[in-house]
Symmetry: C2
Subunit: 351 residues, 2 copies
């Protein structure tokens, strides 16, 4: 039904800074669906910081598998529309998500778990939210922000919560969910514009740019009595500052370390981990996908907050599949806000 | 009743390596007990790695207060014998513990909490164990090893547990308690002699010296399928190796970082904290004294294991109050085994 489509491929590993020439856009044949498969025309595809880790020669042990070179990038969330179905439960016209993103068309087998279950082919309810929301607030981003706050950080009403990279996909949801859960939220970002955004649009209680002055000073000004929870999207010096500011019994949700992803070597870790011993602090690493069983409940809860107006999803949308690599580079450099997405307008040439 | 006694004082702060001349032994007058106080002749006093942190110009925030210069060192556990009592519940001849150690005599007020309650004046039951045991297995060391395993690391039967500094006061108990709780224990130490000790006397399942070859190699040989729990007494590279070896859902009990205590600056932290995110690891800092309410129950449990022969306390005993500074220096250099204690034979001159 579709002869060929474009896809993004990684053509060499990136162990230093990611560049456009690490990628190629390739026109590849599209396989007709066999029994149990569907053919999907992808409409939106996700651009996530964590993808960067999978473009290294050797990624972190235990994380999602690295991308193969010169092959479709498997394991990236995407929303699209079923063109042809030979699988039960899927009909042409259905809006679905799956994990074969960064390409125009995908032939996907139903029932095959992907991304710890988060990317398994499934029909989306577009009455609840528009399709791209499932790549953000109602998808892995919402689940990650929620699980980080509620499970990893064991959030309690009244906690003072610091969220770093607070204008990012997960950060902007973490700020808003923490507020919705009754906490005071300090948000840190990388520019004056973003400070304005997180105060005005995300309604953070306090905000600062980490580029303005030493983190410890900014944090002291924003939370003079210390913090109870740190939602870490950055690692490095941010984590070090948090360890000094956390009150006894404080918790850190280790969500990611975007400061390190685009470097050949990670920055050294915090030199003050003894603060955890001194003050009984807990640091818990987590991935949203570990909580995939809770996704339906979390989606309902976040959808309610969106309806009430207490959570507003924000997106940076880039147009055209070919913009995906640049979108990731921009994201890593802090040039995007909210969930970064690519809107794919498939060329009709191959159809 | 006692005119004067000797005490150890800190005469200058130690921000690099600790030396004997950071201390002075001073003969000081002993105050007669007032109402609510007892006079104690100290018999055994504790030598702990954590004391080192309190000898810095600026110690870790939230930890026990630093020692004042040219004054008695307040807040060091000691066992002694009541000479004179003007406090209810204490009689001459009682064996007690309190927190005014590193001196021959102490006038102590009853009911005043010290060391988070762990050092509050209390009568000890010498029928259960000999007095010095209360500075080790039946005191803060036992409580720290137990709380670290059971609470901080949420130990489960069958876990593979790595204990570093395993020949030390807390480490040697952690090894034995983890075994008593049904775990497989890998012990690391700093010499071939200690390897022999932890295998033979503490019955660790596997052991290595961190000086022999890279930690990652030793750990892989001792626990080829990875570890579930790391009981961290060292910090630095040890913690980094643990993060790489921990299986999904693994836990770290952050007990201390002896590698750093005697340095002007702490070593940089682990550069691989992302492993916590990738594998859902939890790092929890803790201090035994935070669990002081559980001490009676933990003492009973450990006393039972000692009776059964499944836990054997080991001690390094130095004689004479004047040996306390050297004992601490030796402990920090890894030249002691088990709980380091000083046996005080008070000079009778002042009595």
């Amino acid at each position: 039904m579709v002869a060929s489509g474009r896809e993004v491929r990684l053509v060499r590993h990136a162990d230093g800074a990611l560049e456009p020439d690490h990628f190629a856009i390739v026109e590849a044949p599209i396989r007709d669906p066999a029994d149990g498969e569907v053919l999907v025309r992808n409409r939106w595809t996700s651009v996530d910081p964590g993808l960067r880790l999978r473009m290294r020669e050797t990624g972190p042990a235990g994380y999602f598998e690295g991308f193969a070179l010169d092959a479709p990038l498997d394991g990236i969330l995407t929303v699209g529309e079923v063109l042809e179905s030979r699988a039960d439960g899927f009909r042409p016209g259905d809006t679905v998500w799956h994990a074969a993103g960064w390409r125009e068309y995908a032939t996907v087998r139903a029932g095959v778990p992907a991304l710890n279950g988060l990317g398994t082919l499934a029909v989306l309810d577009t009455a609840v939210a528009p399709p791209p929301a499932y790549l953000g607030a109602l998808g892995g981003m919402g689940l990650t922000a929620y699980a980080g706050l509620v499970h990893a950080a064991e959030l309690t009403e009244g906690d003072v919560v610091w969220v770093s990279a607070a204008a990012g996909a997960v950060g902007s949801l973490a700020v808003q969910l923490a507020r919705a859960l009754g906490c005071r939220v300090v948000a840190s970002v990388g520019s004056a514009e973003k400070v304005e955004h997180v105060l005005r649009d995300l309604r953070a209680d306090a905000a600062f740019s980490h580029r303005d002055r030493p983190l410890a000073e900014s944090l002291r000004a924003a939370a003079p009595d210390g913090i109870d929870v740190y939602f870490d999207n950055v690692g490095g010096e941010h984590l070090e500052a948090a360890l000094n500011a956390l009150r006894p019994g404080g918790r850190v949700a280790l969500c990611g370390a975007i400061a390190d992803y685009d470097r050949a070597r990670p920055a050294s870790g915090p030199s003050n981990l003894f603060q955890a011993t001194a003050n009984g602090l807990t640091l818990r690493g987590f991935r949203g996908s570990a909580y995939v069983d809770e996704l339906p409940a979390v989606q309902r809860r976040i959808a309610n907050w969106i309806d009430e107006g207490s959570v507003r999803p924000f997106e940076t949308v880039r147009d055209g599949l070919e913009s995906a690599p640049e979108a990731l580079i921009d994201l890593l450099a802090g040039r995007t806000v909210g969930k970064t997405l690519v809107r794919i307008d498939a060329t009709e040439s191959g159809a």
